[in-house]
Point group: C2
Amino acid sequence: MLRVGINGYGTIGKRVADAVRAQPDMDVCGVAKVSPDYVAVGAVEAGYDLYAVDDERIDEFRAIDIDVAGTVDDLVEQSDVVIDATPSGVGAQNRPLYERHDTPAIFQGGEDATVAEVSFNARVNYDEAADADYVRVVSCNTTGLSRLVAPLEDAYGIEKVRATLIRRGGDPNQTGRGPINDTVPNPVSIPSHHGPDVQTIFPDLDIDTIGLKVPTTMMHVHAINVSLENPPEDDEHVRNLLGNEDRLVMIPDFAGLDGAGTLKDFAADAGRPRADIWENCIWEGSVTIQGNDLYCMQAIHQESDVVPENIDALRSLSGHLSGPESRSLTNETLGIGFSRLNGRVAKRLDTQPAD
Amino acid sequence: MLRVGINGYGTIGKRVADAVRAQPDMDVCGVAKVSPDYVAVGAVEAGYDLYAVDDERIDEFRAIDIDVAGTVDDLVEQSDVVIDATPSGVGAQNRPLYERHDTPAIFQGGEDATVAEVSFNARVNYDEAADADYVRVVSCNTTGLSRLVAPLEDAYGIEKVRATLIRRGGDPNQTGRGPINDTVPNPVSIPSHHGPDVQTIFPDLDIDTIGLKVPTTMMHVHAINVSLENPPEDDEHVRNLLGNEDRLVMIPDFAGLDGAGTLKDFAADAGRPRADIWENCIWEGSVTIQGNDLYCMQAIHQESDVVPENIDALRSLSGHLSGPESRSLTNETLGIGFSRLNGRVAKRLDTQPAD
């Protein structure tokens, strides 16, 4: 049983904690949190042992009647591995703490790639983390791009990727971040940092990215062009290729899933925790071949698509399952895949090939 | 076992179906739906028998491989009671169908009050529906206002209510509705229709309301003034009064629950289905007595606050439980109340009376 400590219990940390708890081969030994707010109340409701950053903070939690099991230092000491889900930049500051305890750690994509020996995507380079002590799961956008790039590279070869990332302004609980009524080039410099980040997963990939921010809290949306070396005959070939990937979901035209609002509503109807969408959502109707160029649009749930990747990173690092075994177990325990939706797509493609 | 048919499987219908299924004394005998879209896929995933409006629609469902159990007519025939959760105005058109089958029905607040014999709120007039065949559960906003008005009327007597309703533009899956960047008086005439609607529950209440719409899909927010006949000495008296109501939740200052975004995130963390918030969320820090005037602000989750009211309306109409018994059973089976949050409030008020 792998004992996992979660340092940082925010958007990502609370989801990874629940996902760890859903695994048969892992336990959550506690979660560390800075502020005594509603998320801390939620951690206690969920039954996690709560750790504070220092003794002063322990008192703040006790003032609102929340028991604290100790400090972050105690949590790291008890953990076989730590998931660092602290805010961007804080992870790097925490690394000496993990080194002091000789405890391996998994960082998030908000950290610079230099924080760890390996930047990680479960589909692409699972085995590379096996010998590492420090692994970085790449960001939500980089994860989303990597999952799409991998099968296209395998099947057709890629000449170049050009992607426009229309990014959500903040998470649902960050309504103060903005933008509130604007479309903001962010960063204004091109290529944005996302392209180089994808290259931490695919070192030889030619990719340029453009980033913007818009006033939504729901999902990122990517408008993607991939120039292929050996393009297939038609769009359908691509749809079937992508539809067979376990962390890509093809969104069929019939379903009325016309944006992030309906996608999140669908995930809520499916009974998913927090209406999370761990998969890339690729609009079937957008998948288009024009000569050598493939185009498509996909929605990426910024709060949750890295969650299964963190679980697989834990197993790669601890070394007790192979990549396919780990991904399969993660998918099964979390309930990844909207099988009925994909089933419908497959049927539709079978019966209406000329669509 | 009360056999309940759900006619209209949208925002309200799908939630009421799940709530009926959670009751020990009711069964869902099927749901009727117009469009073969993602919500229909969700109904099948949830295991409900699906009924179509007519034979032509049955074929549309079968084209996407969804089995249909029959038409709405068949569903009504099999039901002891029907929940009509069709779009506003359609319910009234459906009433002759229910009459033809001699099947009692519960309509939603989008219908004119004349659609039914009784307009219903579980806290206020549970017993009035006992002799009725047709009951109308009032709208989300009217439900939210009624729950707040009831204890204030009981404890202090009400001279007059003045409420400004800052309404969400649409539900999360209705992103096309707007407004997208505006605050729109809606309706521009004052008082808005909400005041008279509250009077269907409190016939003698003096109440004026103003309505507006803003670009959010998350919750309505009410800014409320109640002129009291016998005001209490201080704000704390009101907070304790309201905090003891089972479908009101006092939002403590410490929690960082600063708006609908954080409230929904908290509900998601609590593992609630669809992150629903069945209770009025009243910001503790806004509860203020100025002379005879009470002020406060509350958030109302438009998608779900009427769900427990529909369940209670079913029991009132069928007559096998008293109001307190039904409300208690509904609260327990759905998991109503953020007890830990309210516990914190109570403790805080006990220990810091001068706050």
